[in-house]
């Protein structure tokens, strides 16, 4: 139930997430606040932090929502402030021009809840984001916050909590999908103290930002989850490891910890029930491998973040050799809901082996980029075409990449796949933290594989040889292919090295690193062959294998392209046809971007 419905007061929510802030949303917030204060009307304005939105509209600029009518405006400008206050806030008139255009329905909708994008989603981990002010603990409490903690402390035994989480079927949302309840039980059964609880908010995956959005937009739900976990396993000390680049997330989490301590949800003798717990934030050092649990713990201890072999579980010997439970941000955010609504309710959502929902960051060449939360088992087609609104521009779908650098590329023929932990593993991809990157025909799959391998070779900690050397050799082969120096036997060689790296690497980074290569070869072998045999890049991405030219039948000689060219490679007379001098062209694409007639074309061939 929407708690704002009970109030007569109107609330104006302004998204102040990083994405919207980049588009001046804070100015809009200040403008709205000032205007409303000047008019001295009984309206409450609150800033809401909602990083690159659950609505997927952040690319359309700042978002303003007016409650309780649930009017949803996107692409708001500072100059719209007066009109919004006068028309919508005071007189309940909707400003048509600012409404969201639902491409699935082909019309504008008053609230984003009426759009296709919203209707297929189910929000558990993202339940409060965009609805509350993360800096205000009362907002969270109003929406049922900390009631799960109260329930646990007053009515449940630690064992009871663990069996509730076990029965819910919650699997860790960090990527591997290890059952959360089992992890907790293993830790609870150890009898050496102290025990530690850790929240992984490192999120090094390129293309994923769900953890960031939860930390920025709803920090208390993470805290509450951690508190419940700590109570269950008998821990008195916790750590939240947050990526250093996420400054707003660090700020909001720090504030949330302070506020929770003020209210007595953290600290000594919480709610008078004899349970004490403290939590500390550790800033990550910017190393992808620190997302791996053992490396993360090494980093918290103030060492270089190298992983260790996991023949002993962290639940037995983790931080400083003590029993430790480590879960990811999204996992923790799910916990309060499971306690409040019960394991039965939770386990009815999702698919057989994967209960509940999963947050994905749907990005790339898709219309509605943003965060989505869907029940597991939903098909890729539903995610990309119903929720995502299909491919942006005129391009055609080519592949979707899931699970970050360790994941794989899934081709069109598998779009009917129901998304959960096991089904993704079966096709060679993985859930990972939940990045979902949609690629269209202008994406070169060989180059994508090269991109991930480059990332991984830089991020490999170098401790074990298969990972350090194997990834590097694979990268060299792929770089050769992208520059037209590929050899026919390279594909087999790549697969052979992949096998070794997978088998022999020490930690998850190396074990999954070959996935992008294996899946692209499996599903897009043609493209590899085109690079090797024909010295041609079908997508027109690999520069050495691509030539830009101006289609003389289309060009009308406006000369815009020449202005945009940084190397003066374009020549011609205004009014006649222009040409590109290939020897000077650096293939930056400025001309293609600027041409209004689409006369600049890319030829995916002719290496010499």
């Amino acid at each position: 139930m929407n708690i704002f419905k009970r109030k007569v007061k109107k609330t104006v929510l302004v998204c102040c997430g990083t994405g919207c802030l980049a588009n001046n949303s804070f100015e809009i917030y200040k403008g709205l606040k000032k205007k409303i204060e000047d008019l001295a009307v009984n309206v409450k304005v609150r800033p809401v932090v909602k990083a690159t939105g659950c609505n997927g509209l952040c690319e359309k600029g700042p978002i303003v929502t007016i409650l309780p009518d649930d009017v949803f405006y996107c692409g708001v400008k500072v100059t719209d402030v007066d009109e919004i206050v006068e028309n919508t806030v005071l007189n309940n008139k909707v400003i048509e021009r600012l409404l969201y255009f639902d491409s699935a329905k082909g019309k504008k909708v008053r609230s984003h809840k009426q759009s296709e994008f919203y209707r297929k989603q189910l929000k558990i981990a993202l339940r409060n984001i965009g609805q509350i002010d993360p800096g205000n603990i009362d907002d969270y409490i109003e929406r049922g916050g900390y009631s799960a903690l109260r329930k646990v402390l007053f009515k449940m035994s630690p064992k009871g909590v663990i069996s509730e989480v076990e029965r819910s079927g919650l699997r860790g949302r960090g990527g591997a999908g290890f059952p959360a309840g089992l992890k907790w039980r293993q830790c609870a059964e150890m009898d050496n103290f102290p025990k530690y609880v850790v929240c992984n908010g490192d999120e090094g995956d390129p293309g994923a930002f769900m953890d960031r959005s939860i930390m920025e937009g709803d920090p208390h739900s993470i805290l509450e989850g951690i508190l419940i976990g700590a109570y269950a396993v008998g821990s008195e000390k916790g750590f939240i490891y947050i990526r250093d680049e996420y400054s707003l997330a660090i700020k909001n989490m720090t504030k949330a910890i302070e506020k929770a301590a003020e209210r007595g949800f953290l600290g000594q003798n919480i709610m008078g029930k004899g349970f004490s717990f403290d939590i500390e934030i550790v800033r990550g050092g910017g190393a992808f491998v620190c997302g791996e649990s053992t490396a993360l713990m090494a980093s918290i201890e103030g060492r270089v973040g190298e992983p260790r072999i996991k023949y002993i579980h962290s639940t037995e010997k983790g931080l400083w050799g003590q029993p430790t439970v480590l879960n990811n941000v999204e996992t923790w955010a799910n916990i309060p809901v499971i306690i409040n609504k019960g394991a039965g309710w939770f386990s009815r959502i999702g698919s057989k082996g994967s209960r509940g929902t999963k947050v994905f960051s749907l990005v790339g060449k898709v219309r509605n980029t943003g965060l989505i939360e869907v029940p597991m088992g939903i098909t890729l087609r539903e995610i990309i075409f119903d929720i995502g609104g299909g491919i942006i521009g005129s391009g055609k779908f080519k592949a979707v990449q899931t699970g970050g650098p360790s994941g794989g590329c899934i081709p069109e023929s598998l779009l009917g796949l129901g998304v959960d932990f096991d089904s993704l593993n079966e096709v060679g991809a993985m859930m990972g933290s939940g990045g979902m990157i949609v690629m269209d025909e202008n994406t070169c799959m060989v180059e994508v594989a090269r991109y991930y391998l480059k990332f991984l070779s830089e991020e490999s900690c170098g401790k074990c040889i298969p990972c350090r050397e194997g990834i590097k050799r694979m990268l060299e082969i792929l770089e050769d292919m992208c520059t037209g120096k590929g050899r026919e036997e390279d594909i087999e060689l790549l697969l052979e090295i992949s096998e070794t790296v997978k088998e022999a690497s020490l930690c998850g980074l190396g074990k999954t690193a070959p996935n992008p290569v294996i899946t692209t070869i499996k599903y897009f072998r043609d493209e590899y062959l085109a690079h090797i045999k024909d010295r041609r890049c079908p997508a027109g991405i690999c520069r050495e294998l691509t030539v830009y030219y101006i289609d003389r039948d289309v060009c009308r000689g406006c000369g815009l392209c020449r202005k945009g060219c940084p190397t003066e490679a374009i020549s011609g007379e205004i009014g006649s046809r222009f040409t590109i001098d290939t020897s000077k062209c650096i293939k930056c694409g400025s001309c293609k971007e600027i041409c209004r007639l689409n006369a600049v074309k890319v030829l995916g061939g002719a290496a010499e």
């Binding site: 980049a22 952040c58 995956d205 400054s247 918290i300 103030g302 990005v363 980029t369 930056c588």
Partner: protein, 159 residues
């Protein structure tokens, strides 16, 4: 090295605060001066080699001085497939620096980062703390001009 002392005084002498201390020093100076590292070594009583191994391992730390404006271009997957490489090329052409370098006048440093979590705005570029979304090569020129980085008259303004 006054600031280093202030930073050190905020933290107890426990090894687990090493990374945080180094990050704070990095924030203050934009790199880790050797003098500061020696002070850290004395304070925590750890070998200097350990500090260097951390400084080279973590991306957030740098042993090379950085410029006044740090340009960070996101090269996360979403930004990558929406053309971050073009942005890097454009900066390279305008300022003559590659990722990891600093301009000779010490004004600009260029870095790539693996994801800023603003994928909806891809490609994204950050200068110090200011975010720029949906960046195009043309926009790069305009933005760098704002920071006094480009004074090439032959580059024409567009749009």
């Amino acid at each position: 090295m006054f600031y280093t002392k202030t930073i050190l005084n905020k933290y107890p002498k426990e090894q687990r605060y090493l990374l945080a201390v180094l990050q704070d020093i990095q924030k203050k100076y934009n790199y880790l001066p050797r003098g500061a590292l020696i002070m850290v070594q004395e304070y925590f009583d750890v070998p200097l080699s350990k500090l260097y191994s951390m400084a080279t391992f973590y991306k957030a730390l740098s042993l090379k001085p950085k410029g006044k404006y740090i340009i960070r271009v996101c090269d996360g997957t979403a930004c990558h497939i929406r053309g971050s490489a073009l942005i890097i090329d454009e900066i390279h052409r305008l300022l003559n620096i590659l990722p990891g370098d600093t301009t000779e006048d010490g004004n600009f440093s260029l870095e790539t980062v693996n994801c800023l979590g603003s994928c909806a705005l891809a490609p994204v570029m950050v200068i110090n703390d200011k975010y720029y979304g949906n960046v195009t090569p043309a926009l790069v020129r305009r933005i760098l001009k704002e920071y006094g980085g480009v004074n090439c008259e032959h580059i024409q303004e567009k749009g």
